[in-house]
């Protein structure tokens, strides 16, 4: 009995001292919801092996309510040590002084930022201060159904395609039958701010001090977008969608082309029984493609800054993490390792994986301002009116411009 007690005491002392040396950090994220939870766990295991003195408590919240919760915990002074932010909300959080300035940590830790994609890294800085590290990025490409194209006798997308070529192909596919459509590219804010740039316009001026929503080029763009639904009907209107999603319609071969994110690849791989491939989105006077990124930031009030930084720099730049991402088909790692890029290109379908990187040459980021969400909702509402044919594109954009000027403050 006595010996047992001694062993017990010694064991608990050892345990306590080892526990005392362990820092636990809290990490909140949204992108590992749904099927990716186990991949994040894998990444955590590798990290904790390499850093035995750090333990990571992961909390995952669905994207729909993530920011509600994040806001509440920040307001309550209970923010996690590190957390994920998508690019659009990142700007607001940085501006409101919630995020830790990472500049000093970057230099003191010796983290080599050249392994990270330059654009992705830049996206999470503001005025020369780095506030976050990129976690993943994705972009948007034109995905098309090769079989449907062949059946309709339409020319496959080429590198020098313009809107006119795209429209022609769409019309041919539309002519196949009443239930088949040529293309799906929704008339809403996200597509709009990008498509105007394919036509030489934009929704804000250069230094973001004024809205330029109702410029003649923009009206022309909106007219083109709306005509596809109302005039030529190569694109289904909301009622014709009948509650089905755009991906659903593509998967059952009722749409020839769809402009959507690279995150669709893993789903389409499983659920599409036909030949499909991707192409860079055609533009009009120039090309413009979407760029989205999720980033990792540290809370200004965190007391475990060093541990938190080790974790986020690991998630951001580590080559094993990147490999896990590629194999899982979980968006793109924001890294520049050549072997990772090769690995990515090898996972097919689609065959033309290099399109993903080519699209980066034409990328446009979301027009982030402090009142980003509000702006998006207002523009969306007016675009809806145009989409339903209730207002002409000119009217809709004029009204949107007026409301934006009333409700949004630009510095």
């Amino acid at each position: 009995m006595k010996r047992f007690l001694v062993v017990l005491v010694v064991a608990s002392m050892v345990l306590t001292t080892s526990l005392l040396g362990v820092t636990t950090i809290k990490f909140m994220n949204f992108s590992s919801a749904d099927a990716n939870a186990k991949y994040l766990e894998e990444m955590k295991e590798i990290f904790e092996e390499q850093n035995p003195d750090i333990k990571v408590e992961i909390e995952t919240v669905g994207f729909g309510d993530y920011f509600t919760k994040l806001m509440t915990v920040v307001a309550g002074g209970n923010a996690p040590d590190a957390f994920e932010l998508n690019y659009e909300n990142f700007y607001t959080y940085a501006k409101k002084d919630v995020l830790l300035d990472l500049n000093s940590l970057l230099t003191s830790s010796g983290f080599d930022t050249s392994v990270l994609n330059e654009r992705a890294l830049y996206a999470f800085s503001d005025n020369g201060v780095q506030y976050g590290l990129p976690f993943s990025f994705s972009n948007v490409v034109l995905i098309y159904n090769k079989d449907l194209f062949d059946r309709a006798g339409a020319e496959h997308p080429r590198e020098d395609w313009t809107w006119a070529d795209e429209l022609e192909a769409a019309k041919k596919i539309r002519a196949l039958d009443a239930m088949t459509f040529g293309i799906y590219q929704p008339v809403q804010f996200w597509e709009f701010y990008k498509m105007v740039q394919q036509n030489g316009g934009s929704i804000l001026n250069e230094d973001k001090t004024a809205f330029t929503l109702n410029s003649p080029q923009n009206i022309e763009t909106l007219q083109y977008m709306v005509d596809r639904i109302i005039e030529s009907n190569v694109m289904p209107n909301d009622a014709q969608m009948a509650g089905m999603g755009d991906w659903d319609l593509f998967e059952v071969e009722r749409i020839g082309m769809i402009v959507t994110g690279t995150w669709a690849f893993s789903t389409f791989k499983d659920s599409c029984d036909f030949n499909w491939d991707i192409a860079v989105e055609p533009g009009n006077t120039s090309k413009a493609t979407h760029f989205f990124a999720n980033g990792l930031a540290i809370s200004k009030d965190s007391k475990k800054v060093d541990a938190a930084f080790k974790w986020i720099s690991f998630l951001s730049g580590d080559i094993d993490v990147a490999k896990i991402r590629i194999e899982a088909g979980w968006e793109l790692p924001p890294v520049t390792y050549p072997e990772i890029i090769e690995l990515y290109k090898q996972t097919t379908p689609p065959e033309s994986k290099e399109v993903v990187f080519k699209s980066l040459d034409f990328l446009v980021t979301p027009p982030v301002i402090e009142q980003f969400n509000e702006m998006a909702d207002i523009v969306n509402r007016h675009l809806e009116a145009a989409r339903y044919g209730e207002k002409t594109p000119e009217q809709a954009l004029n009204d949107a411009q007026a409301e934006l000027e009333r409700s949004i403050k630009l510095n």
């Binding site: 920011f67 509600t68 806001m71 920040v74 307001a75 607001t92 959080y93 409101k96 002084d97 919630v98 209107n237 909301d238 009622a239 014709q240 009948a242 509650g243 009142q371 969400n373 509000e374 909702d377 509402r381 809806e384 009116a385 339903y388 209730e390």
Partner: protein, 292 residues
């Protein structure tokens, strides 16, 4: 202990749990939120006091009045339909047959389901081209509207879905009220030769009037706070025709980072609900019968 003190003690003990919850989780938040509505707090950084600026902005905004009308549109359609549906349902369920238990469970199922599931179903039911509702209308020669894709018909679509979902809930409450009516009243009336609708009008209706009052108040208060259906079925569209107060409040608070404004909106909403409820409360005397 004398009688008066004993009575006071009893009141205290019986009310204590409720009042504790009230003070900590109602009074404090109410005061806190009212102060908040006088600021421009964006949740993430410091709040600046702006006085009644938010309230002024609300009443001057075109959006507020549009959203208020949308909310009223819903209420005017939903309340009568709901009361008739749930009262009829409860009367049908009050009849004892071998399958009463089964029927009662069946009718409660929509109440238990989540709006995610219900929304999927109703989006299909109300689908202009493929949905059964328009097909049935077509069979009797009517052309169904575009429902959720039409500025005027989207709200009625939401009303239909809401009635379907809430019918069991209020039906259950009415049922409890019906169960409290002593059957001897009906027996005596039968002996006196009363007809069925007479029994309904002179016995049933008056005796469930306290329940009816309760249902009316609850349903109206809930309708002013219409929210989940809008979020999953139309997201406020088309063209803002189904944007309602709660949807705006939620977005201002959690998407636009304008908590001060959102709280002010909540208070304005509260005032509307208060006025309507007070009116109902005053009118209670005229038609609600309590047996004691």
């Amino acid at each position: 202990m004398n009688k008066k003190r004993r009575k006071r003690l009893v009141i205290l003990v019986f009310l204590l749990p409720s009042i504790c919850g009230f003070i900590f989780f109602q009074v404090f938040p109410i005061v806190y939120s009212f102060i908040l509505s006088l600021t421009d707090w964006d949740v993430l950084s410091k709040a600046d006091f702006v006085g009644f600026e938010n309230y002024k902005k609300i009443f001057e905004s075109e959006e507020f009045w549009r959203v208020l009308i949308n909310t009223l549109y819903y209420i005017v359609l939903y309340i009568p339909l709901m009361i008739i549906a749930s009262l009829s349902l409860s009367m049908l369920l009050n009849i004892r047959t071998r399958f009463t238990g089964v029927f009662r469970t069946i009718f409660y199922i929509p109440v238990l389901s989540s709006w995610v599931a219900a929304a999927m179903l109703w989006r299909w039911l109300l689908s202009p081209y493929y949905g059964p509702i328009n097909s049935i209308l077509g069979m009797v020669g009517l052309q169904g509207p575009s429902w959720l894709y039409d500025k005027v018909w989207a709200m009625p679509g939401i009303v239909l879905a809401s009635v379907w979902k809430d019918m069991g809930f209020f039906g259950l409450i009415f049922l409890a009220g019906l169960q409290g009516i002593n059957p001897s009243y009906y027996e005596v009336a039968s002996i006196d030769g009363a007809k069925r609708w007479q029994k309904f009008r002179y016995i049933t209706l008056p005796l469930i009037s306290p329940t009816m009052f309760f249902v009316l108040i609850m349903a109206i208060i809930n309708s002013f706070q219409l929210f989940p259906q809008v979020m999953v079925m139309t997201k406020g569209g088309p063209h803002g025709s189904t944007q309602v107060m709660m949807e705006r409040i939620y977005n201002y608070a959690f998407t636009y980072y304008k908590m001060g404004y959102a709280t002010a909106l909540s208070w304005v909403l509260f005032c509307f609900i208060l006025v309507v409820t007070l009116v109902q409360w005053k009118m209670q005397r005229r038609w609600v019968h309590y047996e004691s």
